[in-house]
Symmetry: C2
Subunit: 277 residues, 2 copies
């Protein structure tokens, strides 16, 4: 039996991702914040954590990037989940009667066109989508609704007012599986993730990218995060195609170390498959 930590309440998209990745024999461990997920994995209270890292409409989940570095955990897998948002409440209210709608800020952003078309509704950000649904179920107030997954409506016995309310049906969230230990990966479709802080020099980022381009290594993502003590300097996060067992990847990372203050390897893992949520 493996324990899987995720952020949110039962019915959260992270829970759905956890179930798709670890098909059986798991115990799910809902957690109030991303940091608690990382903490549980670091301290061995969970075997793995499942955390969102980016959404195809809304962009990166900054906190996940920052916590990967802070907790120095390994990435051992990923998964893309198609996100379909549902508006739900204790009764099947008419849209024009709604007064308050609760959800996670990313979900609210993904449904902005639907929400902007409503009149006289307060849009209220809360910590997670399933938590919004749970709140509506436990403390029903007339004309208040939540945006969450279809499964959250089932879990909390809520009525769906309208489904698929996101701006764009091409709405995917990429989740990472984090672990204390790296696992070997043998698939031919692998990715490797690192982060690094560059030495200050002209064209520093260009030089960093050259270590990959000169070895024909494809990058799939680049992200930057601020460094707290160095105002407007950045840590860069890169995902590349390939495996640490590959000499080209090893050489590129060693080359990058020559021009970096610090470099952290999160590991190699199989490229994420896509599922409908």
């Amino acid at each position: 039996m493996k324990i899987i930590a995720y952020q949110g309440e039962p019915g959260a998209y992270s829970e759905a991702a956890s179930k798709l990745i670890f098909k059986e024999d798991i115990e799910l461990s809902p957690s109030a914040t991303f940091e608690i997920v990382f903490n549980k994995v670091k301290k061995g209270k969970a075997d793995f954590g499942v955390v969102p890292v980016e959404n195809s409409l809304y962009g990166s989940v900054f906190e996940t990037y920052d916590l990967l570095k802070k907790y120095s955990l390994k990435i051992i897998g990923e998964l893309n989940l198609q996100i379909n948002h549902y508006l739900m409440s204790n009764k099947k209210y008419k849209l024009k009667d709604l007064k308050k709608i609760y959800s996670h800020p990313q979900a609210l952003g993904q449904c902005s066109q639907f929400l902007n078309a409503l009149k006289d509704v307060s849009i209220l950000p809360v910590y997670d989508t399933a938590g919004a649904a749970k709140m509506i179920a436990e403390n029903p107030v007339a004309n208040e609704a939540a945006i969450a997954s279809k499964r959250a409506a089932e879990v909390y016995g809520l009525k769906v007012i309208q489904g698929n309310i996101q701006n764009n049906s091409e709405n995917y969230t990429r989740f990472l599986v984090i672990s204390k230990k790296a696992t070997g990966v043998s698939s031919s479709n692998t990715k490797t993730s690192i982060c690094f802080e560059l030495k200050s020099m002209p064209g520093a980022l260009f030089r960093a990218l050259s270590v990959f381009a000169l070895r024909d290594i494809d990058l799939t993502k680049i992200e930057s995060r601020p460094i707290a003590k160095k105002t407007f300097e950045y840590v860069f996060y890169i995902d590349m195609k390939g495996n640490l067992a590959d000499k080209r990847i090893k050489n590129a990372i060693n080359h990058l170390k020559e021009i970096s203050h610090s470099l952290m390897i999160f590991g190699s893992y199989e490229e994420g498959k896509t599922f409908s949520g």
Copy 2:
């Protein structure tokens, strides 16, 4: 008399930035959302807008990046404001008695260490810092407080419970001045901002950065944002040192157009000075 639009209520950090940039003869136009600021400038209801683009602890303000592209406005200036957060309420409550603290998610993030040390307090995100202070002043509830600027405490007649509660005293927010029309800039310390969508090819971002590196143009910031209809593809935003009047910059941008689907120039402007907020 120039009209300056900013997001937030009177007492917002964006209001302080607006006053520092436009010293006199201005009418300030508080706006509920970033999009309303862009809209006012686009439609001529405001001459300029002042919007935060990144914080040295918390990172980029995604919405500003997305709106720059959506509204196709020009950047004509910038300013760095040192941010000092204050905890305030209608009474000088003891920390241990506080039950709810309201502020903008970025301000809550910047004060996370202070907030994590408090027990049994609900942390509630709202649209802006000064708005949280205004809410506390207008509807005082026992043991509820807001995090906002010192000026917000003055504007709304609130008592400061504790000052300088941010994680790091090196807490700066960079603001942009947006306008419908570009202005010429003659200073020697200039920056130029662009965004572009690259054609799909191996090492595409490396090639994009090479157009600057090969011409000795320094980049000060790179940011990426997702493209809605192209899952996990990105628009890149770059700030570089130099001026569009400089042939090197012009050539680099023309070179970049060769390998881009689309490219937008936000303009050249004087590098931001730093002020204490």
